[in-house]
Every structure is written in C-alpha cells, then in structure tokens.
C-alpha cells in the first residue's frame, strides 16, 4: 500500500516536472530587439501560431541601448534573446561573455550569403536574414534639383551631389560601420579613406541614428542617403517616392539572433531561433513591411518577381570577401577616425570640397596645368591619414580605446591629435584649392 502510493506520488511528481518543462519550453519568451514593430509584429504572430502556448514579449530598444541593457542587468538577467542587425553588437556581447552558444538544428540554411558567413564561427549567434547597403534617393527632390541617378559609391563624390547626401555615423550605426569597412577592405586603407572623404565632402549631414537617414530622404530634406536596403524597401512599401540601388562594391550582412547567457527560458529561446530558421519563419521575411533577404535559398521561390536574390542575382555575386577579424581588430580606430576627420570637421572639409568642384568645372572649360597640379595637391592633403593601416590595428592604439596596459596615450589625447591633424590638412588644402581656382579662372 505504502509502496503504491509512493509510486503514484512519484509519477505525479514526474508529471508535474514534465509539464513544467513543457511549459518552460513554450511559455513567455522575452526578446530585446532593435527591430521595429513592423518587423516584430508579423513574426510574433507567426511564432505564437507555430508554437502553441508560447508568447513573445518584445522589448524594443535600439541596438546600443539593448547592449547596454543586457550588460547592466546581467546580475539578474530576465532576457532570453538578443535580436538585431549589426553583427558587431553581437561581437561586443560575445566578448563580454553575455551570450550562450547554441547551434541551430535547422537544415537547408546557406553557409554564406554574399560572401559573409551566416553564422558566428564560435556558435554564439546565428544569422536569420541578410541585408545589403546601398544608395536611396528621393525622386521628387532629384527631379526638382535636376540631379543625376547614382550607381556607384564614387558617383556620390561628384560635383552635382554636393550638399545633397546623408549618412549615419559609423560609431552610431553598426551597419554604416560595415559599409565603411567594406570600402576600406575593397579599395585598401589609403584609397578607401580617399573615397570616403571624397564622398564626405559632399555630405549634407552625418546623423546619429541609422533611421535618421531614410527619415530625411523620405521627407525630402536631403536627396540621397547611404542606407541598408530594407529601409528603402519598406519606405517604398509605405508609399514614399524613393528609389534604391546596390553599388557593385557592397556586402551582404546577416541580421542575427542569439540566446542571452543565463536566459530564464532557454528552451523557449531555442524554440524561437528554430522557428526563425524554419521554412515558415523564413517566409515571413518576405512580407512588404519586413523585406529582409532569407538565408534559406528555397524560400526565394515564393518571393515576388522583383525580389533581390543573393544566391542567384548577378550583381550580388562575387562580392567582396569580408574579413570580419580584420574589421573587428580596428573597429574603434575606424569609427573614431571617421568622427574626428569627418563628422566633427565637416564644415572645413565641405568648404574645400566646394572649391575643388569649382576648380574642376573651370578646368573643363580651359585647362591649366598649374591649377591642375595644385588641385591634386589639395586632394592629397585631404586624403592624408594621421595613422597607417598597421598602426590602426596596433596594440598601442587598441589599448588606448580599451584601457589596456600597452597604451601610449589616452583616447582623448588621440582624438585631439587626429582632429588637429585633420584641421591643419584641410586648411592647407583650402589654401591650395583657392590658389588653383584663381589660376583656373
């Protein structure tokens, strides 16, 4: 008798435990994400339908705030998943040991999209969709100002685009950082910075939010914006008169999802990742408000006719092989260089660029060798860099940003040096350009 009741009790307990586990797998899954409501709502709906009993609790924060939040609350973590675009945010979290590794069971997922590996090599985060960078523009603005249609990054450096282009600062937007890094890797350090500064001379604004760029293009405050593709696609979806093009030097970057370390509902978190990678989850990405590129090649069969397909489209083949390690090693240096040489020196940089455009126009009418030489000198002065590629990745400079032992100077000192360098070079370039203009006229 006693035995039997113990057995009953035991199996009842087992049942309770089992149902508890089942509940844990489906219950509340908390996700911190930078994705907008337009993206999360359809996915939430589809997920809750596919996994009965599950609810997805979405905390919308921008990428930086999300990273900070997870960092600050790690002692008593309540978040299951981190879900965002920029791979470097995941790198930061991974570096701080705030993610837990998970290898998805789903099969049929591409290894690479474009030339970028879909998943983290150490298994801490998984790509579920891809996006590429390009140029969007407002058709009404372009028509009213009689401006051309761009195809390549270099086009944006031409005279007609002066004061019409907008970009977000790479220190503020992980995806812009990748664009700049793509240009640097594609063209080499010195040439890449030259291209970047040539374009920067035509900038109208450097925004501090990624979404600030499409917002300004949509409302017609600037003509062109350097943006990630889905900003343009979803703007078109909302009816704005905008167009978009992928330049030939672009890179496709996966948007990612990861389980947070010590997740309260680990099983639920894993269930969500599996759902995202499942055929149903991938199809949701095709919705007009989302418009991300699936990482499951077969899903493109269900896409609308004009949908970009990185596994087939010619212009998205043979893209640059992105070196993530190289990029990671110099992230802080590249971002800070951009801020100190461009963002906070935009006025002097624009002033000299404007004169150089005028010199070019004058030279086209009547050539003048001396003026041409001076203009070239001015351009070289603008392109000059305070540090070499090797220095950017050197332990001394890295340590200045992380506070490591090898540092030779503090970050604030470096910044002041670089800013002073740029100021001086741009002033010298302006003098040369002014002289060239006098001669050319």
């Amino acid at each position: 008798m006693f035995r039997r009741s113990a057995l009953v009790l035991g199996s009842a307990l087992g049942l309770v435990l089992a149902s508890g586990a089942a509940f844990a797998q489906t219950g509340k899954v908390t996700v911190v994400t930078s994705f907008s409501k337009d993206v999360t709502d359809p996915i939430k709906k589809a997920f809750e339908k596919a996994v009965p009993g599950a609810t997805l609790e979405v905390q919308n924060r921008n990428t930086n705030a999300g990273v900070k939040f997870i960092e600050e609350t790690k002692g008593n973590n309540q978040v299951d998943l981190f879900w965002a675009s920029a791979p470097d945010a995941f790198e930061v979290l991974k570096g701080k040991k705030l993610l837990s590794a998970y290898k998805p069971k789903a099969t049929g997922i591409a290894e690479k999209v474009g030339s970028y590996p879909v998943n983290d090599k150490d298994g801490f985060y998984s790509g579920f969709a891809a996006s590429g960078y390009g140029i969007m523009w407002n058709e009404r603005y372009v028509k009213a100002n009689k401006l051309p249609t761009p195809k390549e990054w270099q086009d944006l450096a031409q005279a007609p685009y002066f004061d019409h282009v907008s970009i977000s600062a790479p220190s503020r937007s992980g995806t812009t950082h990748l664009t700049i890094e793509t240009i640097l890797q594609g063209e080499g350090w010195d040439k890449g910075w030259r291209t970047t500064k040539d374009i920067a001379g035509n900038l109208r604004t450097v925004t501090d939010r990624s979404f600030g760029v499409p917002e300004a293009v949509n409302s017609g405050q600037v003509g062109y914006g350097i943006v990630i593709d889905f900003f343009a696609f979803s703007s078109q979806g909302a009816g704005f008169p905008v167009k978009f093009v992928y330049p030939s030097v672009t890179t496709l970057v996966p948007a990612n999802v990861a389980v947070v370390a010590n997740a309260p509902n680990k099983a639920g978190a894993e269930a969500f990742i599996e759902f995202l990678l499942s055929p149903t989850g991938q199809e949701v990405l095709l919705e007009p408000t989302i418009r991300r590129l699936p990482v499951r090649p077969e899903t493109y069969a269900k896409a609308p006719a004009d949908y970009p397909n990185p596994f087939k489209d010619k212009n998205l083949q043979g893209l640059l092989t992105f070196n993530a390690e190289l990029s990671e090693g110099r992230t802080a240096a590249v971002d800070t260089l951009f801020d100190q040489l461009i963002t906070f020196q935009l006025e002097p940089l624009k002033a000299v660029t404007k004169v150089l455009h005028e010199v070019d126009a004058a030279l086209k009418k009547k050539d003048n060798a001396q003026a041409r030489a001076l203009a070239k000198e001015a351009r070289d002065l603008i392109a000059a860099m305070p540090i070499t590629e090797a220095q950017a990745a050197s332990p001394e400079i890295k340590a200045a940003f992380t506070g490591g032992k090898e540092k030779s100077s503090r970050q604030a000192e470096l910044e002041q040096q670089w800013a002073a360098f740029a100021k001086e070079k741009y002033a010298a370039a302006k003098a040369k350009a002014d002289e060239a203009l006098k001669l050319a006229r």
């Binding site: 907008s36 409501k37 337009d38 993206v39 609790e57 979405v58 905390q59 919308n60 924060r61 990428t63 930086n64 705030a65 990273v67 900070k68 939040f69 600050e72 609350t73 002692g75 008593n76 309540q78 470097d88 930061v92 407002n138 009404r140 603005y141 220190s171 503020r172 604004t205 925004t207 501090d208 979404f211 600030g212 917002e215 300004a216 949509n218 409302s219 017609g220 405050q221 979803s234 703007s235 979806g237 909302a238 704005f240 008169p241 408000t289 802080a332 971002d335 963002t343 906070f344 940003f401 992380t402 506070g403 490591g404 032992k405 503090r410 604030a412 910044e415 002041q416 800013a419 100021k423």
Partner: protein, 560 residues
C-alpha cells in the same frame, strides 16, 4: 524670522535628503564616478578633466552651448513677455485659452515633433519650398546654432510664460493702485511696479530655460548639431564599444553648470524682498484695453501663437497625411493612422496619465517642502537640498536610466523579480527628472509671500504645521499648480530615461509607443497620430487646471 529648528523640520529635511540620496545621488554616482578614474583601472584621477580642457572639440562645444543657452533665454523672453503681460494684466478675452495654447510647445512628442518641424521649417519644408517658388530664396531656420536657438526658444519659452504669469497674478493690486494714485501709469507702471515684483517668477523661468537648453540633447541632435556639450556627452555614453570616461566627464561638467546657474540666480535674488502682504491672491487689476490697443494686442498674441504652434500644426497635418514628401502640403489625407493606433494606445494613455500624474504629485510635494525649508527655516545645509534637486536638471536621462538599472536591478523582490522591473521605478525616474520644474515654481511662489502673514498666524497661536496648512499652502496654490502642470506635461513626453527602464509593453507610456512607431517608414503617420493624442491629453489636463486656478483666484480675489 521666527524660525527655530523644530524636530518636525529636521525630520522633513532628513526624509527629503534620504529620498534624493536613494533615487538621485546614489544611482547617478554609480555611473559618473567613471569620470574620476583612468580607463582600464587605476585609482582616482583628475586627468580626464585636463583632457577635457585640452580637447578643442569639447571647449568649442562648451562655448557653443553657453551661446545657444543665453540667446535662447533672450528670444524666449521676447515670446513670453507679451503673452504673460497681456493675459494677466488686461481684460483679455480668451486669456485662459492663450495660457493653455502658450504652454503646448513644451509638449513636443519626441521624434515625430522633429519630423513635423523639418517638414515645415526645414531646408525643403513647406515654408522654404513656397519661398523658393515665389521669391527664389530660402531661409535657414533650422541651420546650425541659430536653428537650435530658434527651436529651443519656441520649445522652452513656456517655462518663462508659466512662471511669470503665476508671479504677475500673485502681485497685490494695491501696489499698482498705490503707484497709480501717485501718478504712474502705462509702461512706466509696468516697468517700475509689475515687472520688478514679478522678478522671482521671471528668474525662475529664465534659469530653467538656460539650464534646460544647456542640457538638452534632443533638439540639437534633430538638427544634426553635434558640437554642443550635452549632445557630446550623449553620443559618447550611448555608443557601443566607446566605453571611455569623457562622456561622464562632460556629464559632471553639465551638472556643475546647472548648480552654478542655480547658485548664481540665488545670488541675484539675495538681499531683495519680493514679498507683498497680499490679501490672498487678488492679482493685478485687469484693465480694459482701448479698441486700438485691443487690435494691436490681439495681433501680437496671434502672431506669437502662430509661430510657436506651427510645429503642432505640422504634427496634426502629418497625422492625417498619406504621403508627405518634398511638397508644401501632404499629397492626401486619411484617417488610417488614427485607426491603427487606437487599439494599442489605450494602455499607453492609461500608463502615461498614471506615471505623469504620480510623478508630478511627488514633485510638487517635495519641491514645495524644499522651498519651504530653504526660505523659511534656518536648518544648516538646507541650500544643499535645493542644489541637489537642481542637479537632476543636468543629469542626462540615459545616465539616470543606467544608474537606476545599476542601483536597483540587483535588488530582488521576495518573488525574485528585480526591483528595477516594477513600473513604479519609471515613475520615480520621471519624478526625479521633473522635480526641478516644480521646485523652481514653488520657490518663486513662496518668495512672493510675506513672512509677516505667517508671523501673524503664529502670534495668534497657530502652530507651525497649522500655519503652513492654513496660510502658506493656500497662498502658494497658484505657484504649486504651475509647478504641477509643468512637471506633468513634460513628464508625459519624457523618453530618454523611460526607454532604458521600460520592461514590457504593458508598462510602457505613450512616448515609448511613439518611439517604437517612429523607427519605421510606415509608422510615421501613426506616430504623429499618437503624438497628437498625447498633446491633446496634456492640453485637456492643463486647461482643467487653468480653470481651477482661475476659479479659485476669482473666488478669493473678488469676495474680499
């Protein structure tokens, strides 16, 4: 002064000090101590402050901020003075409406307000597109530092308007009557009697504008002006990977500037007595305007209101617009945005009213108590309460938010959930951020009340507590209400700290819902609709409180 150090006063002071310590100083200290350490460990150091002084960018930003703040005070005064004077000093039809409308600019919903202003005043906004078409030129309303001054003056002049109006209403009419009997009138009467007596209110408003503009992040960033001090701090603190002390060094500088400003205003007011032995808030006599004056007065008021309400007009247009891009007016109109947000917004509205209401109530109680302790008692160190509370003005919202996470996330409730996940924490953060508004209003109100009234009550045998309850508080009602309204209205659209502290959609206020919508192209119209709803709610609450003030003043002023 009759004041002695009663145990009640000491207990009150200690309670407030504890509140400020736990909810302001400790959380902020957990974040800004980084400013005093060298990166990568090491002991305390001031080297970061030396770096601040050596970096051109920071020095340039500092002076830009000083210039913008000072010029904003000037322009905000130009906007506020006529509205405050005309509506309190004269029989002016619609005075209450003007006061309410004149307050609205302070409630500019985040993000969407910026878009609306760009669409109206931006480089290719309605105004410039029309100017370009008709006259072939454009005006850079929103360019550079002057653009910041333009927007800040429109945005923050209500601080001066509200405090100055409250002060003008509090001046006893017998002062004016005495001057008139002695032959003064017109502008001289205003310059020599009304304005000097209303000075505490004006100073309260102007100092708030100065500090607020100095510490504001949103407006400069929406104009892409980054070379000011507060945006520099914000950009550094919120960029990932750039974990350096300079952002916190700038925060410390911001806090010091805020305290210095409050200290300087206290110095200006020192040794002057603004109190009048009034009979209970009769206010200035309201005079009839002559017909010609009336036309002029209405023209001025309408012109100012048209300017300062333009952003809200843009907001309303945007909320009904289908597509609005590079054109003076939207392509078409629709109700779709309102139907989209109506379902979601009821929980946001409920939370907003609850949070902003509670926060403003906390602010008025604590602000009033601090003002009383500082002005009416001789407790040692009482000034510190004022200064500590005022630093809240300068603490960037992100710093406070992160500080709350650090200080309260580790504290678990009995059931294991962290303290910081409770919605009351959001209320406390908002209350702390808006406390200086209520404090300044209460301070100005108390400065205008003569101590002799309290002394009289005490001579007649009333206890201190009874005197406060029956004499001080009733006389301060106008000022306290002005403080409540300012705190409430601005709390309703607070975002920066909220964004960090919100844990679930069901606890989120309107500003958060708006932020979420404004991150997508399709959400722009819906965000605007939510913004309009937020402004309407606040406007209705304000109009009701204006009504209450007016009623009570009339009742008391006229009966005697």
């Amino acid at each position: 002064m009759t004041s002695i150090r009663s145990p009640g006063q000491i207990a009150l002071a200690l309670a407030i000090a504890l509140f400020l310590g736990v909810f302001l100083i400790v959380p902020v200290a957990t974040v800004v101590y980084v400013a005093f350490t060298e990166k990568g460990g090491g002991g305390l150091t001031l080297v970061n402050f030396l770096d601040f002084g050596r970096t051109d960018l920071f020095v340039r930003s500092f002076w830009n901020s000083v210039y913008v703040s000072a010029m904003t005070v000037v322009w905000a005064s130009v906007l506020a003075l006529p509205l405050a004077y005309l509506t309190t000093r004269f029989e002016f039809r619609g005075a209450m409406l003007v006061q309410t409308l004149g307050f609205l600019p302070l409630i500019m919903p985040p993000f969407v307000g910026a878009v609306a202003m760009q669409l109206l005043f931006g480089r290719n906004g309605s105004v410039n597109l029309l100017l370009d078409e008709w006259f072939d030129f454009k005006i850079g309303f929103m360019e550079g530092l002057n653009g910041v001054i333009f927007l800040q003056a429109i945005h923050y002049f209500p601080f001066i308007l509200v405090n100055l109006s409250a002060a003008l209403r509090n001046i006893d009419r017998s002062m004016e009557e005495a001057a008139q009997n002695l032959g003064s009138h017109g502008l001289r009467l205003f310059r020599r009697i009304a304005l000097p007596l209303a000075l505490p209110g004006y100073i309260a408003g102007a100092s708030l504008v100065f500090v607020k503009v100095f510490d504001d992040v949103a407006t400069p960033l929406l104009l892409n002006v980054k070379e000011m001090l507060a945006p520099q701090a914000y950009l550094r603190i919120t960029s990932i990977g750039i974990d350096d002390p300079m952002g916190y060094v700038i925060s410390v500088v911001l806090i010091l500037v805020a305290v210095a400003t409050m200290w300087a205003t206290a110095l200006v007011m020192k040794g002057k007595d603004y109190a009048t032995t009034q009979r209970g808030g009769g206010g200035l006599a309201r005079r009839q305007l002559k017909p010609r004056e009336q036309v002029l007065a209405y023209a001025v008021v309408i012109l100012i209101l048209a300017l300062v309400l333009a952003p809200h007009v843009g907001l309303v247009l945007l909320s009904f617009a289908t597509v609005w891009s590079f054109s003076p007016l939207p392509d078409g109109y629709t109700l779709a945005h309102y139907t989209r947000v109506l379902g979601d917004s009821s929980v946001y509205i409920k939370n907003t009213l609850l949070y902003a209401g509670l926060a403003a109530a906390i602010d008025v109680v604590i602000g009033g108590a601090i003002a009383y302790l500082v002005l009416r008692t001789r407790l040692p160190g009482r000034q510190w309460l004022d200064w500590a509370a005022s630093t809240a003005l300068a603490v960037p919202g992100v710093v406070l938010g992160i500080g709350y996470l650090r200080a309260f996330y580790g504290v678990s409730l009995p059931d294991g959930t962290p303290l910081a996940t409770l919605w009351i924490v959001i209320v406390l953060a908002i209350a702390i951020r808006r406390l200086p508004y209520a404090l300044r209003a209460a301070y100005a109100a108390l400065q205008q009340i003569s101590v002799s009234l309290e002394e009289a009550a005490e001579n007649l045998g009333a206890t201190k507590a009874r005197t406060v309850r029956r004499v001080v508080i009733p006389l301060m009602t106008g000022g306290l209400l002005a403080g409540f309204v300012t705190s409430f209205a601005t709390a309703a659209v607070e975002l920066s700290a909220v964004l960090i502290l919100v844990q679930s959609n069901s606890d989120a206020p309107l500003a958060y819902g708006l932020y979420v919508l404004m991150q997508t192209p399709a959400g722009r119209g819906a965000g605007a609709a939510l913004g309009v709803i937020a402004v309407l709610i606040v406007a209705i609450c304000m109009w009701l409180s204006q009504l209450a003030v007016d009623r009570s003043q009339r009742a008391r002023g006229m009966d005697i």
